[in-house]
Amino acid sequence: MVKIKSPEDLASLTAKLQKEKNTEEICITVCMGPGCLTCGSQKVLESLKEEIKKRDLQEKVQIKETGCHGFCQKGPILLIKPAGIFYQQVIKRDIPEIITETIINNRIVERLLYVDPILNSKIIKEKDVPFYKSQYRLVFGDNSLIDPHKIDDYISLGGYSALAKALFEMTPVQVMEEIKNSGLRGRGGGGFHTGRKWESCRNAPSPDGVRYVICNADEGDPGAFMDRGLLEGNPHRVIEGMIIGAYAISSNEGYAYVRNEYPLAVANLNIALELAREYGLLGKDIMGSGFDFDILVVQGGGAFVCGESTALMASIEGKRGEPRPKHIHTSERGLWNKPTALNNVETWANVPIIIKKGAEWFSQIGTERSKGTKIFSLVGKINNTGLVEVPMGISLRDIVYKIGGGIPDGKKFKAIQTGGPSGGCLPEELLDLPVDFDELTKVGSMMGSGGMIVMDENTCMVDIAKYFLKFLRDESCGKCVPCREGLKRMVQIIEDITEGKGEPGHLELLEELTQTVKEASLCGLGKTAPNPVLSTIRYFRDEYEAHIMDKKCPALVCKNLIEYSIDELLCTGCGSCKRACPVMAISGEKLYPHTLDMEKCIKCGICLEKCPFDAIKIS
């Protein structure tokens, strides 16, 4: 690899790579994102490689392994260029046919096409799929064009040119001002102004001149995987952003703190860092500018609280990840007590775009106080699950129905949960709410890092509140009493409610406790912990009351409050349930309606899953 020693070197390399790119050549792109991997894209890839070799097509056909494309629901996904054909739910067996039909005979394999559920028509090209059509994929869009193991892929798309611009055409202060003017706010949840954070870090005194840059990739929110998608799919964009940030605050040392549960992200990031170093884009004298900066990857230990900035820094320092009071911000005294600029993965990934296209261009996207786009992980009870990127200000309804394709099985929408364990559940009445930092906070939820979990009529909101409380109780580091003890008591109360032991006054007690926990806790975990409870009480009070007063769970979820039975009219006596029942609670003769012994039943729900005739009822 030849070192890039000047911006001209980079420009000529980019031009060379673009010229070499044969736009006519057939390229089969295989999505190796987290969703596709879980449904077998590795096997698809292997079989594709084998088949291409077997038919001696290596010269003609290129195979590209990329990160997440976003449409996980339909994985494994295959994209065939230059035609742009979009094949979904591809399995190993389909590969020979794809090669024969599409690659050799230029014909479409109809059964692998995406079917528009509303128009019932088949869609050939990726860009016409409604899921992608309504998105604005500013940060995430390049994922399907890049092999994360190849830095040239990123450079050929103009990668690292923003870094060249920053280093050679702008002063550090100008870079900082540009970010400030763009209105970029932290994508990790808090929504603090990135430029302002950098400014206070830059201006904070540091006697030995040491300042640090940190990328927070401790994506702990359950139900969110945007940062994983970005880091695994397009690591160079994050690295480029970090180098630009380091230049702006004059730091020479950076850390990327990656969740323990994301080994692939750690691996891809390390490979990307090594490649950037080889090109001279990282390390000493970057691109011949005289600026030095390097990044070290730190693997977390699996603690949710380490997503909090001070806890994360303690963890990098090799200590227990316990937060400290933030009377002095981490931008002034952070890692090893030095001024530290900590931003989330997605925030860093936005930086090169802003520098390249300018603050003015960027600030035209979004709403008045929330600029740019946001990536959400759209999951739960929704037809099109996956990662979606939308401009700020889009309504929740558009996300759920236009992009998400609505609720499966004709069920009714009940709530959408945003902001992870610190956020809240919003009801149908608020679906027209524009998605931006301030609007979501106003209604008792928050933007958070971008998890969006859709719930339907079969989701019990009390159970969801219990779920988050238990999660936070387990993840509370235990340092401060209000959070450690308060959450425990809240779980006890809510467990009583879901077990049918709720009493009048329990709701008020819960509300009182939430106030204490909120006001007296040390860090963000405790301060926001009551949000899931408060928002569910606020919007779904009737469900709590049904649990407490009527001892009923309207969504039929809470085990102690439901009963299973067999509908004699629908039961054909096939015996599926009887065979599957782990406690032998079902009896009956073959071909005659069966009966269920409530004394023995443990309400595991397996009979419900096994019955082909919908004869198992819950009441």
């Binding site: 969703g35 449904c39 994985g75 139900g223 994301y262 699996g302 782990p582």
Partner: protein, 149 residues
């Protein structure tokens, strides 16, 4: 073995403790008391701090684990789609609670807060193999394959 080698390789790091413990665990499967004492001595970090770190982070096991590690995701998306019933089913057929190992040493059952593949939930992982869109009914046949491959 190689604990000393790992320590030597990482000794120069500014922050050796967590990387060293993670790497040792990768090889040994868990952190024994003697390992923790040894690391503390070799890195000159107080035993209380090493033990504190080892017990704080969920990535570290202080007990040996079974041949196969079953990991069930209990993230919000998986929870909404019914991971609780899968957990109960696993507890029933394995006879252990999350964090425990079966008596025959074949399985260690753990749960995780989020695996980061939320779109395919509920997700279960055994070793390095993923099982997406799980239901309690699918559990039996999957487990059987690991008992008698």
């Amino acid at each position: 073995m190689d604990i000393d080698k790992i320590i030597d390789e990482n000794k120069g790091l500014k922050i050796p403790l967590i990387p060293v413990l993670l790497k040792i665990q990768e090889i040994e499967g868990f952190l024994s008391e003697s390992t923790i004492r040894h690391v503390s001595r070799r890195l000159s970090i107080p035993l209380s701090q090493v033990f504190g770190v080892a017990t704080f982070y969920s990535a570290f096991n202080l007990k040996p684990s079974g041949v196969n590690k079953i990991c069930l995701c209990e993230g919000t998306a998986c929870h909404v789609k019914g991971s609780t019933r899968i957990r109960e089913k696993l507890e029933r057929i394995l006879g252990v609670k999350p964090g425990e190992t079966t008596k025959d040493g074949i399985f260690t059952f753990t749960t995780i807060n989020c695996m980061g593949a939320c779109a395919m939930g509920p997700i279960m992982k055994i070793g390095t193999e993923y099982f997406g869109k799980m239901t309690p009914g699918k559990v039996d046949s999957i487990i059987k394959e690991y008992i008698s491959p």
